[in-house]
């Protein structure tokens, strides 16, 4: 991975007044979708690179904005259902239209995004405004023609998958068969067909017969990128379960269980909380999985269940501050993680608007900050350092001066290029590697 100072000054987009709750590139990287707490989805499109405007090479502009979910009220349980978008997943593009799934706590929606850049003109019976013409004025016939118009992006809800979940949906994942997808809540995972909204199949159910026996919940899940029968789900106890849908209709029994024994020397009141996996992502190759818990990111090999093959400390200096972080609820923050296109670098967010990248090959890591200062023209993104006592360099930040309200929970990496999208509260930063924008 190149040094951070080759990164182009980022684009800083103020997406909305609302906090961004999810970020996702589509399969080509041309489109970038964000969801926020207010239920809105904003889609950015990458401008084609042109020699005429070299400064705006490959920048992202707003493509479409729409209200995906509204707050609802469940009258039966007297509960408000938040409109916050928990996850967005793009469907592979099959025609000129783009489709994505967006979900809040209870309902998943399939949106179709289409472009209209031509409109018919020259009707015989209607005038330009659409009013019927007086027939006596029509002296000749013409064939209506399509004339170009300003690009209009239309978004319409094509499917609404409702009433499938009793608990809060935490993840959705589209199957590689492009026909089905799964949605996971705290205790169950359902399999849906993209064309069928009135039923879904339950494929995982970890709800105990007696809820008093509840000891773990599902925290994230994902389909394997190539094998349409395989999926993984993570638990609040820090374990991963790989399930094969060919084995049984109900995949309560895992095919593989990935679990690392706990280090007894690190035991504390909060050991269980910090071992809860907040995100799991298959590598693009399908060979590895990436998990994020509160203090580390881990790379797992699908062929080895006993322990991860790599563990990276994200912010181990917080280990002594767990009690304070418990008090201010920060310990419950769910950070996401991401692979780069070649699976050689992994990225995750932290506090103080820092995000971290780990190069798996060179074992080098870097801490960067998403801030307004770094978005000035010609600014280079310089690596940051958190000092934990001992020698302090000039620009180091001390642990106690970290701002825990500025957290980067959601990050995304372009599927092919070195372009990353970082959501910092209600701002979206897009960083591009200027010098080497190809996959390495």
């Amino acid at each position: 991975m190149r040094e951070a100072d080759t990164l182009r000054p980022p684009q800083l987009m103020e997406v909305s007044a609302d906090i961004i709750s999810t970020v996702e590139f589509n399969h080509t990287g041309e489109l970038l979708a964000t969801g926020d707490k207010g239920g809105r989805v904003v889609i950015f499109q990458r401008e084609p690179e042109s020699k005429n405007a070299p400064h705006s090479q490959g920048e992202y502009d707003v493509y479409s904005t729409f209200q995906s979910h509204e707050p609802e009220f469940d009258y039966l349980k007297s509960l408000e259902i938040e409109e916050k978008i928990n996850k967005i997943k793009w469907l592979p593009q099959q025609n000129a239209a783009h489709s994505l799934l967006s979900t809040n706590d209870k309902t998943i929606k399939l949106w179709k995004i289409t472009e209209r850049d031509k409109r018919p003109e020259g009707y015989n019976l209607k005038d330009e405004e659409g009013k019927l013409k007086d027939l006596s004025t029509v002296t000749s016939l013409q064939v209506p023609v399509l004339k170009p118009m300003d690009l209009m992006v239309e978004v319409s809800p094509r499917r609404i998958f409702a009433n499938g979940h009793t608990y809060h949906i935490n993840s959705i994942s589209v199957n590689s068969d492009c026909e089905t997808y799964m949605s996971a809540d705290d205790l169950r995972i359902n399999l849906w067909h993209l064309a069928i909204t009135d039923r879904s199949f339950n494929i995982v159910d970890i709800k105990p017969a007696n809820m008093e026996d509840l000891t773990e919940v599902i925290t994230a899940s994902e389909f394997h990128p190539h094998h349409c029968n395989l999926f993984v789900y993570s638990s609040s106890k820090g374990s991963l379960r790989l399930c094969d849908m060919r084995a049984a209709a109900l995949c309560d029994k895992h095919s593989k269980l990935f679990e690392e024994p706990e280090d007894p020397s690190n035991r504390s009141f909060f050991s269980e909380i910090i071992s809860s996996v907040s995100d799991v992502k298959f590598s693009h190759s399908g060979r590895y999985m990436l998990t994020r818990d509160y203090l580390t990111v881990k790379v797992w090999d699908l062929n080895m269940e006993a322990r991860p093959i790599e563990t990276y400390q994200v912010h181990d200096y917080l280990r002594s501050k767990l009690c304070s972080l418990y008090e201010n609820d920060c310990i419950f923050d769910k950070f996401e993680c991401a692979w780069n296109g070649s699976d050689s670098v992994i990225m995750t967010g932290a506090y103080n608007n820092f995000f971290r990248m780990f190069d798996r090959n060179t074992k080098r890591d870097v801490t960067l900050e998403a801030s307004r200062e770094s978005s000035k023209p010609r600014a280079v993104l310089k690596p940051r350092r958190v000092c934990v006592g001992g020698k302090r360099r000039r620009d180091d930040i001390s642990v106690d001066s970290l701002d825990f309200t500025k957290k980067i929970l959601h990050t995304a990496w372009h599927p092919a290029e070195n372009i990353i999208a970082i959501a910092a509260t209600n701002n979206l930063y897009i960083f591009q590697d200027k010098v080497n924008s190809d996959m390495h």
């Binding site: 935490n170 705290d186 709800k207 008093e212 035991r267 009141f269 809860s276 418990y326």
Partner: protein, 327 residues
Amino acid sequence: MEFKLEAHRIVSISLGKIYNSRVQRGGIKLHKNLLVSLVLRSARQVYLSDPCPGLYLAGPAGIPAPPPQQQPGEPAAGPPAGWGEPPPPAARASWPETEPQPERPSVSHAPRVGDEVPVTTVTGVGDVLQGGEADATEAAWSRVERPRQAAAREAEGPAGGWGVFPEGSLAARRPCFCPLGGEDPPGTPATTPRTACCCAPRPAEDEPPAPPAVCPRKRGAAGVGGGPAGCPAPGSTPLKKPRRNLEQPPSGGEDDDAEEMETGNVANLISIFGSSFSGLLRKSPGGGREEEEGEESGPEAAEPGQICCDKPVLRDMNPWSTAIVAF
């Protein structure tokens, strides 16, 4: 001792979180509440295993806290330094001696996270203990006990004293939770199961070791409070009493809740937990039966405004029903 305070603090913070989760938008989050309950359980175990004279009786068999160094599934070697080891049982038995004092140095630099207040407080207590153990322990004990009595006084009727019982007497009552509890329909007067319960004599046996200051109230309340402790049923009348008991702390702000709870209601809640904490510790056929009843009434039926669905947190909180449902 500082572990006890730390655990006490964590318990009160956790309870504050659970309390506030009731009113947050989107319903109660199962995952977060499960994690909070795990922390609560851990803190409770430390709280119970770290001895304070008079607060806990010399262990009858029913004490739910396992030997302090043992936790289910943990290596038998005992918790490492980071966990905050409570003093060994020998020291506990000989609390008035200066035996525990040598533990202090090892404890004071055990990594206590975010512990500005507890550390200083604890060293103070430790010094006091070193000086005049009896006085200090009595002072500590009465400090905890007074709010307890105050709270108990304010509560009315049978279940009012429910929260008052120290661990030992409640532990004795625990067996009656199982067979009888489920059979009684909700709303059964609390006295009924108790007299029919095989465990009825036991609380009387456990009375004597309790500190005299607490005894009279405990006995009086024990006469009728045993039932609900053993047989919680959501919505039943006895449960309403602790609501008043525990609602004493003003509800303004989470910090206020935590502060208020420090003063001794937490001790009440700890003892409640001891009798019927979440199924993380034990399986309860009585609880299971209630669960079935709840399930039959419709999997999605729930107390309005309480829980997400399917009574997840309610079931999880069923053993805390007095504390949490009351809220």
